[in-house]
């Protein structure tokens, strides 16, 4: 699907974004490391391959739109937006600081490129349904993408929105579930099991795909497949690793809301080949 050059370029971008996320979180001294890293490959594909958007004109009406429903992965979003050119990479150092346009959770009124306000889990899919309906009413070809966490689908509202998206046959809506299997209090399966995810969304009349959320080719294929379905919303269940890219963060719920220390940052950057 992806040609060799594109894949290499996207891999390089994802690696660079991981570096930015880790630095940003280390500087901020708070924030969500694990879930930012698990989502990064999917977000790299969206921002640098799939979505039609124009960083020099964030309000371009025909743009595709991205809703980060799992808003605590804001560092990953900010890294993408800075890399794309919505604002200066220097701004990333101000994450979570007083007066910064980079809030702890995404704020549409502060950050260029952020479409809605998210962070309170369970609301992004409903917002995306509204955006998809608006695009349809206005006769636009815009597609709406939203990224949810697997712990997030414990929120009942996700299923209200899932029902509505299928009811309105929103083929212009594609949700991706960052299924890293961990939430703050531990394993999703132990805190409150959400499995089986695929059959649940199938039962809600969604087009469902399941991919390795770190396999760039597989993600690209799934995003393209989603576009071919016009009368159903698509759910891409992306199996991911929390903390992906930094071995000592991987598969650890304890790094859900903890930033890397100075020492951890050095080791992580070394691992990512960045000195």
């Amino acid at each position: 699907m992806l040609n060799q050059d594109t894949r290499l370029e996207l891999e390089q971008t994802a690696r660079q974004l991981r570096v930015e996320v880790l630095k940003m979180l280390n500087t901020a001294r708070s924030g969500h490391t694990g879930g930012s890293l698990s989502a990064l490959d999917v977000m790299t594909l969206l921002f640098f391959h799939q979505m039609r958007h124009d960083p020099s004109n964030p309000d371009w009406p025909e743009r595709d739109r991205f809703v980060l429903s799992k808003g605590h992965a804001a560092p990953a979003l900010y890294a993408c937006l800075a890399e794309a050119g919505y604002f200066s990479r220097d701004d990333l150092k101000t994450l979570r600081q007083l007066g910064s346009h980079l809030q702890g959770h995404p704020d549409m009124n502060k950050t260029p490129g952020v479409e809605v306000c998210t962070g309170s889990l369970g609301q992004g899919l409903s917002q995306a349904v509204g955006l998809a309906l608006a695009a349809r009413l206005q006769g636009r070809s815009s597609r709406i993408y939203t990224l949810l966490g697997d712990g997030e689908v414990q929120e009942g509202q996700v299923w209200e929105a899932a029902m509505a998206a299928a009811h309105y046959q929103l083929g212009n809506l594609c949700a991706i579930l960052d299924a890293n299997a961990l939430q703050i209090d531990g394993e999703v399966a132990k805190v409150m099991n959400v499995a089986p995810l695929g059959p649940k969304f199938l039962a809600f009349n969604w087009h469902v795909l399941e991919v390795d959320g770190h396999d760039l080719d597989a993600i690209a294929r799934a995003l393209a497949d989603a576009e071919s379905v016009t009368d159903q919303p698509t759910m891409i269940i992306a199996r991911t690793v929390k903390g992906k890219g930094v071995p000592f963060f991987e598969h650890k719920a304890s790094y859900h809301g903890v930033p890397p220390s100075d020492e951890e940052l050095d080791r992580a950057l070394e691992h990512l080949g960045h000195s």
Binding site: P61, R65, V67, D107, M108, N109, E115, V116, C117, G119, S120, G122, Q123, S126, Q127, A128, V129, G130, L131, A132, L133, A134, A135, L137, Q138, G156, Q157, E160, A161, M163, A164, Y168
Partner: protein, 312 residues
Amino acid sequence: MAEMIATRDAYGKALVELGHADQRIVALDADLSGSTKTAQFGKEFPGRFFNVGIAEANMVTMAAGLAAGGMVPFASTFAVFAAGRAFEQIRNSIAYAKLNVKIVATHAGVTVGEDGGSHQSVEDLAIMRALPNMTVLCPADGPETAAAIKAAAAHDGPVFVRLGRAKVPTVFSPDCNFRIGKATTLRDGSDLTFMTTGLMTAEALAAAEILQEERISARVVHHGSIKPLDVDAVLLAARETGAVVTAEEHSVIGGLGGAVCETLAEGFPIPVERVGLRDQFGQSGTAEELLSHYGLTAAHLVEAAERVLQRK
């Protein structure tokens, strides 16, 4: 005798008019469109009407998405579900985001009647008033509702409009104007001021007539805009009459009475009596019985006026 119109009926008609004038207007409902009167909009504009089923949280958040996408959504359900069940969605997806969503909540207060206390919102004004960026309106009657709905549509930002189920006496003329943040003095007076909202404004006008016979001159200032409150009108009436009775079909905590007391405590402390539900829920009964039971009639306002004058 004044014409009797339910504010929700006036809403249904006004929304259809707006729908003709502005293609961006869309309506959402949560399986109560026959009661909230958005069904009329749905019939006229089926492509712009979304009945989301019994799912209020999703409804208001979808409205946020529609607004972010450039539409002007009106989302309706009963006040208890709008301000209650969907509160945090309204807070984060709409008010925090300053999105252009209009939440029109019907069936507020005890005049819901027979359905009982579970369905009678007595706290929605307090809840919505506490939200930054939120405009809170509570019109008195049918004509003012039509004007308020148009003002809400013209306002860029989140608006909560409180409406009722029961038919209420008409106070305003059909061509009345509604200005967000402005109160309306409906009757002049010098001994005290009734500061009222919603259907209690008609009761206050009746109370002022009764007091006139006792040679007490009562002013009636109607607050269709709870937030922003017309602070100048509150302070002016306080200075000129020296005593205030607030009245609302809502808890005395946090609604108009709360807002007026906050304003007067800081700006011009004078005796105030608050008429409303005394920190209690409603119950089943007819609207008329309940208004009487909870002390929300002209006769009760006369008593409150007499009490406040003794403290003057």
